[in-house]
Subunit: 264 residues, 2 copies
């Protein structure tokens, strides 16, 4: 399926409650954004996204109402969801990680507190991070807005991942491929991905975890391996805690899209 | 050749003029850095880098002198030099591009003014950028500090690249593989790399160019193709001008290191 040529149109994310039939009820902030920021005129079109994968071509009436013309079929999402578990770097590093990994196609972001994590994020951070993800999803023309979870300690995050991999209704495990990025050890992520994705019973989800400044502790690496993670390398140089998740997401997204192109 | 285990040691870049035999003559700033910032004690060791690929294990005397114990053999550089031609984004975006692509292994950075480039960098920017590259090379444990060129208009940069590919002493062309990253067109960079690197007569240098906010103009894409660039895609989503060079560098560096591992 080709992506239709709607590349020039602006994107606005709406909540499900804002849609009634073929009408969208816009908030004051959205009216301001369409009219004052984007300088849209009444009768002009934009793309409304519900953040869950659906896009509509919509026509603005110049007030709080926009009419849905039709749904737009688009395929800007990765063929398999990618979950990023990221040990939070210092300062505002998470802002850039969320912005860039959203552009690159991540489905979920799990901020993690590891032994060497210094950041103690304030409770209002999560709202800010979700707004950054929403903006980045619109700008990069994604169909879905990545879901952001509250920060959890590393062992709790591993437990939550294990819970999520059990499909309780059928009591069988979903096939998840999980990679732990480490400095100076492990095979290259690319080679590990090739191996996993060429195996029969392809995974339904990919998880990648990146460490904090100073890296994972030996105990944390062992915990991950006990939870079926494969230790991988991002190359011979030492990447900062901000750069590693962006590099890992780039490699996995590109690998998945290249594999998909091959299998068509 | 394995990288020796000197991972825990701090790195300091010195100028060639600071070395005399097995002695290094440190500047006041370097003495301050070793003693006050790194809290090194007299008699402790650090790694001195000349920024050209050579590392030494050196012992600090607590004053302006450090003794070279021996050279360290290391292989943290890419097997083929990677030149990044980057249309400068707005604001301070170049800082992050230089920092992250240096970590990822780039050999040269050519800032480019394209038709849609808004930034007019002040003359003192180049010094700042070179300092960022030097710091990032030290932190990521690279052997070489990337070379930064002054900003040039896109046509002038293409001409300079063409000049550089001619080896005047033997009047034959060096084999350069050049990629232009574009939105919504071209094959995936990964597939194009596979094709180029599997061909006989492997390139001696790889060049990748990324565009500004709003992308390359059609004329700029045509100019690049006339200079033997291949148009490639970084995936289905639209990447910002800051993210594209980081993603492109990640993919090329990982591809080169995976190819090298295979050919051993």
């Amino acid at each position: 399926m080709d992506t239709p040529d709607v590349g020039g149109l602006q994107r606005v994310t709406i909540a499900p409650s804002q849609q009634q039939g073929d009408q969208l009820h816009l908030s004051d902030a959205q009216i301001h954004y369409l009219g004052r920021v984007l300088r849209l005129q009444p009768g002009e079109s934009f793309i409304a996204m519900d953040g869950q994968g659906t896009w509509w071509l919509a026509t603005w009436q110049g007030n709080a109402i926009a009419h849905i013309a039709h749904e737009i079929l688009a395929t800007t999402e990765l063929p398999i969801p990618l979950v990023l578990m990221v040990a939070m770097p210092k300062g505002n590093g998470m802002d850039e990680i969320i912005r860039q990994t959203t552009e690159l196609g991540v489905a979920e972001i799990w901020p993690v507190m590891s032994d060497r994590t210094l950041l103690q994020p304030s409770p209002n951070k999560l709202g800010r991070w979700q707004r950054i993800a929403t903006e980045a999803a619109e700008q990069s023309e994604r169909q879905r807005v990545p879901k952001l979870y509250p920060p959890r300690p590393w062992p709790a995050a591993l437990e939550a991942l294990q819970m999520a991999t059990h499909d309780s209704s059928e009591s069988k495990e979903r096939a998840i491929a999980a990679f732990l990025c480490t400095a100076r050890q492990g095979v290259l992520l690319r080679d590990s991905l090739s191996q996993v994705l060429s195996q029969s019973g392809s995974p339904t989800q990919i998880v990648v975890a990146t460490g904090p400044e100073g890296g994972w502790t030996d105990a944390e690496v062992e915990q991950a391996i006990a939870h079926s993670f494969t230790a991988v390398s991002l190359g011979r140089r030492i990447l900062r805690a901000i750069t590693a998740p962006i590099a890992a997401t780039t490699l996995i997204a590109h690998h998945l899209e290249a594999s998909q192109a091959m299998s068509r």
